[in-house]
Amino acid sequence: MEKFVKHSGSALPLRRSNVDTDQIIPAVYLKRITKSGFEDGLFGAWRNDPEFVLNQPQYKGATILVAGPDFGTGSSREHAVWALQNYGFKVVLSSRFADIFRGNSQKAGLLTVILPQEEIEKIWQIIENKPETQISADLQSKTIAYEGTTLNFEIDDYTRWRLMEGLDDIGLTFTKIDKVSEFELKRAVFKPKTLPIK
């Protein structure tokens, strides 16, 4: 995973609530067996509409998605995170994220930042008036900053450290693998096994 310390870029306003993962990447696009190539399916059902915000030229090159509440609900597909990353997004701002989506983004290195809805509204207005506005997300100081405004956000220290160091969880767990082996010795014998097949 790439290290994430600080990112600055222009932003794209997605004024919708409850954008579920079927909207972020429809199921028909999930048949790929790699983590790349999902950008064409991003918001697949809406992409044909020339009015859709992703098709508006002033937001071309945006790397920060400013989304409505309850972003990423529904299916556990990590493809939703990959599609956003493949398209070029590094940061998503919302007042509420679905649990699985947020977990997936933190595993894959896409920064999800929770801000109060009134701050999201202000950012929407700013970037709709001035699409070139640069927004920066800083994990070191846990802040979002734009045009003289600085907003603090919360993120647990462990996830922050992992993202800043670009560490993957599996490597970290392998440092404790002896404890896993110890735990396995104590597991109840009646717990089911899938093998041999009965």
Binding site: A27, S75, S76
Partner: protein, 465 residues
């Protein structure tokens, strides 16, 4: 202070706990399917890692598979590649796989319980958000992403921050014609699609205790639609009777030891939930959704809501967009909505009891000439059981299509899809825009409402026939 059921199961699976870090939890069972696993197996290969516990892992083909002509090669080359990749990965890493045509093939959340490998007190994960289904057994079961799938394959553990707990108390007695699907749709309408975010739900109360295992699975299945990663129900005699005798159920002294343990799996009387929500089962009616998220539901007797009456600006905007997408006008009685397709199936309502209850309504009747009824059993065994009971005859005589097992039209990854503007009454779990096919319109319903709607041609309950 006592512990809730979820807290007990969590505590018993902690491998390692460090202050200010997630707990490392042991995973008792890992379920796998073709869509969310290929990149995880690739990750193992790249790092030269193996599957730590193939004996706690099981795979099935469900999301992509056709439900017609399953003896022929999969026609869609991209679907075929994904299924072939699963077969190759399972063979290479020694994982048990139930392929298309195998008697134990089916939707992963139907297969686990029917094999008896879903048992109380376990931690169960799968790269699928409806893993919450297994919570019906008093297991802590939740959906994970592909990075986590790889983590579980490699280590049989997951680092997780413990969610808070929410009690959903449902007291009283359901009226005839009201099912567990109606309970969960009412719960989601009440707390919203984000209401359960950050919580594990525990469904409690006399109305829950009275439900069969399969009805309980329907409720736990849709916990994720309320935003909760997991939902569970304390095991009781109904649970023990269901598990006993299944292929992988404990036997002899193991059964006695397991049963003694399972009986401890209740929320202590002095435990405290972070939040409690109450529902009166006596007041519930058949529920249907009118919008494009599962929280946009109402009793079937109601009318399409007027967005102008919704005070919250976000909800109002969402309702306006939903009505436009659904092609509905505020004030239209829900029972006047004409339906093109009825889908009976999915991990929510594709089990044998669901098929029986729908067949009861359809017996000796014909479906409306204007619509198609697709009946897709949740697993190959459910299909065989239904055929042994003659249910396939009932469906076919009524004019329905009788298909092979899979996720099918719930998410339309296989050829079973809605076309643009086509309207479905569906026993599945998501009415998202385009979920069942691009431009398709979905109303979520119970199997009873699905069957009655198929006969009437408009949204209906058996009482309307």
């Amino acid at each position: 202070m006592g512990k809730t059921l979820a807290e007990k199961i969590w505590a018993e699976h902690i491998v390692s706990a460090t202050p200010n870090e997630p707990d490392l939890l042991y995973i008792d069972l890992h379920l796998i399917h073709e869509v969310t696993s290929p990149q995880a197996f690739d990750g193992l290969r790249l790092a030269n890692r193996k599957v730590r516990r193939p004996d706690l892992t099981i795979a099935t083909e469900d999301h992509n598979v056709p439900t017609l002509n399953i003896d022929k090669p999969i026609a869609d080359p991209v679907s075929k590649l994904q299924v072939d990749t699963l077969r190759k990965n399972c063979a290479e890493f020694g994982v048990r796989l139930h392929s298309l045509g195998d008697i134990d093939q089916g939707i992963v959340h139907v297969v686990g319980p029917q094999l008896g490998i879903t048992q109380p007190g376990m931690t169960i994960v799968c790269g699928d958000s409806h893993t919450s289904t297994h919570g019906a057994f008093g297991a802590l079961a939740f959906g994970i992403g592909t990075s986590e799938v790889e983590h579980v394959l490699a280590t049989q553990t997951l680092p997780l921050i413990r969610p808070k707990t929410m009690a959903i108390n449902v007291e009283g007695t359901l009226k005839p014609g009201v099912t567990s699907k109606d309970i969960i749709l009412a719960v989601i309408a009440k707390i919203g699609t984000g209401g359960g975010q950050g919580y594990i739900l525990e469904y409690r109360g006399s109305a829950i205790r009275a439900l069969s295992m399969e009805a309980r699975m329907t409720i736990c299945n849709m916990s994720i639609e309320a935003g909760a990663r997991a939902g569970l129900i304390a095991p009781d005699q109904t649970t023990f009777d269901y598990v006993k005798g299944k292929a992988h159920a404990p036997e002899g002294a193991d059964w006695d030891a397991a049963l003694a343990y399972w009986k401890t799996l209740t929320t202590d009387a002095d435990a405290k939930f972070d939040v409690e929500v109450n529902l009166n089962a006596d007041e519930l009616a058949p529920f249907v959704t009118w919008g494009t998220n599962p929280g946009q539901g109402l009793p079937l007797t109601a009318s399409v809501p007027n967005p102008a009456d919704i005070a919250n600006a976000e909800d109002r905007g969402a309702a306006e967009r939903a009505l436009e997408y659904m092609g509905l006008t505020a004030g239209t009685p829900l029972r006047d909505i004409k339906v093109d397709t009825v889908f009976l199936g999915s991990c929510t309502n594709g089990r044998i009891e669901d098929l029986r209850s729908a067949a009861d309504v359809l017996k000796g009747k014909k479906i409306a000439s204007s619509l198609r009824l697709l009946v897709v059993p949740g697993s190959a065994r459910v299909r065989l059981q239904a055929e042994a009971e003659g249910l396939d005859k009932v469906f076919l005589d009524a004019g329905a299509e009788w298909r092979s097992a899979g996720c099918s039209m719930c998410l339309g990854m296989n050829p079973d899809q809605l076309s643009v503007g086509e309207r479905a009454a569906s026993t599945s779990n998501r009415n998202f825009e385009g979920r069942q096919g691009k431009g398709g319109r979905t109303h979520l319903v119970s199997p009873l409402v699905a069957a009655a709607t198929a006969i009437k041609g408009t949204l209906a309950s058996p009482a309307d026939l």
